[in-house]
Amino acid sequence: MSIVRIENVSKRYRLGEQEVAALRGVSVSIEQGEFVAIAGPSGSGKTTLLNMIGCIDTPTGGRVVVDGQDVTGRSPDQLADLRARTLGFIFQTFNLLPVLSAEENVEYPLVNIQHLPREERRRRVAYFLDMVGLTRFAKHRPNQLSGGQRQRVAIARALATRPKIVLADEPTANLDHQSGEGILQLMKEINHHSGTTFIFSTHDARVIAMADRVVRVSDGEVVGEESNR
């Protein structure tokens, strides 16, 4: 069964007097363990599509099913719980909490999970910081880290809750090529290693080349799919 199913989803919003269609009847389904790139130029609707999957935006029409649950019409709290349990986010601008150290940032989503013992939390933080190669920087605060390091912290944070799906919106857009490639390599390794589904948006050809599967979006519609496997 697909872990994500997008059925005929559309999204319209008003921009001043005009009504803009960000998505026009998009249908996609993504299997567990896939490493998928949603590719397209800016304004194509790829970020909106990613937000639909991430349950941080609601469709105007159609159905979004995440991990077997139809999320259309759910309350904000139910969606928050779903995000906390099943989804991990990696942002283009990293969005680390500036007042917390690297390890505290990784720990933060774990604090919200009830019945998770302190030792288990510590163990996971250490494990994922090690996985992204930042054990040495555990006590550093985000503004003391480079862009690539910040995005690694963000990856560790996204993984800490052991989500089924990790969503990354242009994860490499604010990084130089070398760090960007490193980040993507890391994501891919984790994907192979643990089977976590990765879905990311990008317009960078080099990043697209690393994806197992590419969904091409343009003008709010899916215009093509290709597999690199």
Partner: protein, 403 residues
């Protein structure tokens, strides 16, 4: 969560400092304005008591109502007994007799009507702190046929200390009597009107002028004005069997309550204005510090925090800054109050008086507590609306503002 809230405050130094400053400034304004108003009331109260009124006066029943028509019909014949009883009370510092003498004062060339008062000079200082000497000296316990004149009276008659004057009176029995007095000093009280007609002389001289041993009133000075009510009750109980009345300074000073009511209304309006300004500046800085973090709120929501949790976090942060800012404000306010009091605020003479005074800022514990709670409550209330608005934004919308 509390730890996270503290972190957010302690690691965003600039923003936190701004909010704390706004809160502390507000609390300081409240502490100082309340302390200043309170000082004015205390000064007014003490002035009233010290204007010669004393904390309480005891007189024959009917004296306060009818003495203007029949000045010598209502007198205390044995003041010593009354004084002895009064002085047994622990709250009482001193008790003294007074005798009013109305007559005319003659300097050899001209004469003027005068309101004389026979007093016990050594005891009067407990209730006459605001009568100040301009020329010569005050009466003392050894004087007998001596007098102290109000400034206006002395000027009208062209009298200097050392001059001799004659007081012409009619005694209770209806006879005309004169006593010769030596002027020892000229005084100024709070009231210009009073000074234009007033004369003070030793009780013995006044009694001689009126050919009597009785007195009009026994004036009671207490250790502290706040003990007035308790002392009055005890005195009323003590003299319940006798034809005597006990009146408190508040009952005697008719203007006092009116003045307090007027002041309270005026200051109330000013304090309300201060309160509104405090509330506005606090809510403004709380607003800014919450909206600045819209992007962060979006991140927290995306990470799976519920709206209510983020809302609670924001309000908790405000509450913490409210407590901190309030404490800073209280400390600063108290320090400032002491500094200002040490210097004093020069005040112009109140209506109907000729002397200005130095106002201070009092630290009143209840007012300080109220100021602190207002600061805290204002901060929390101010955070409710922006916190609720920010956490109700669609997550995507909030995230977009992170950039």
């Amino acid at each position: 969560m509390l730890k996270f809230a503290f972190r957010n405050l302690s690691r965003h130094k600039g923003r936190t400092a701004l909010t704390l400053a706004a809160i502390a400034f507000g609390v300081v304004s409240l502490v100082l304005s309340a302390g200043f108003v309170d000082d004015i009331f205390v000064q007014l109260r003490e002035n009233t008591v010290q204007s010669g009124l004393g904390h309480a006066q005891i007189a024959k029943e009917g004296y306060f109502k009818f003495s203007a028509r029949q000045p010598y019909a209502y007198m205390i014949d044995k003041p010593e007994a009354v004084i002895a009883q009064v002085k047994r009370l622990p709250q009482v510092k001193e008790a003294m007799s007074r005798l009013n003498v109305n007559g005319t004062l003659n300097n050899g060339k001209a004469e003027l009507p005068v309101r004389g008062e026979g007093v016990e000079p050594d005891k009067e200082r407990f209730v006459g702190g605001f009568i100040s000497l301009i020329e010569g000296r005050h009466l003392n316990a050894d004087d007998v046929y001596a007098a102290e004149l109000g400034e206006g009276l002395a000027r009208s008659l062209g009298i200097k200390p050392g001059s001799r004057v004659t007081l012409l009176t009619s005694t209770p029995q209806g006879a005309v009597n004169t006593v010769e007095l030596q002027v020892v000093g000229v005084f100024r009280s709070f009231s210009i009107e009073y000074d234009a007609r007033a004369m003070r002389m030793p009780l013995a001289a006044a009694q001689a002028a009126l050919n009597t041993h009785a007195v009009h009133t026994v004036v009671v000075a207490l250790n502290d004005t706040s003990e007035t009510d308790a002392a009055i009750n005890v005195m009323r109980a003590t003299f319940s069997g006798q034809p005597l009345v006990v009146k408190s300074w508040e009952e005697l000073a008719d203007f006092y309550r009116k003045a307090v009511d007027l002041y309270r209304a005026q200051f109330g309006v000013l304090q309300l204005i201060i309160l509104v300004m405090v509330a506005l500046s606090v809510s403004n800085s709380v607003n800014i510090s919450i909206f600045e973090r819209t992007g962060e709120v979006g991140t927290l929501l995306a990470l799976g925090n519920r709206r209510r949790e983020v809302f609670r976090l924001l309000v908790l942060e405000s509450a913490v800054s409210g407590v901190l800012g309030g404490l800073i404000g209280v400390v600063l306010g108290i320090v400032l109050a002491f500094l200002i009091s040490a210097v004093g605020i020069p005040m112009p003479p109140p209506p109907n008086s000729s002397q200005g005074y130095l106002a201070a800022v009092r630290v009143v514990p209840e007012q300080v507590a109220i100021a602190m709670s207002i600061g805290l409550v204002a901060t929390i209330v101010a955070s409710l609306l922006p916190a609720s608005r920010v956490t109700r934004l669609p997550v995507v919308e909030a995230l977009r503002r992170a950039m």
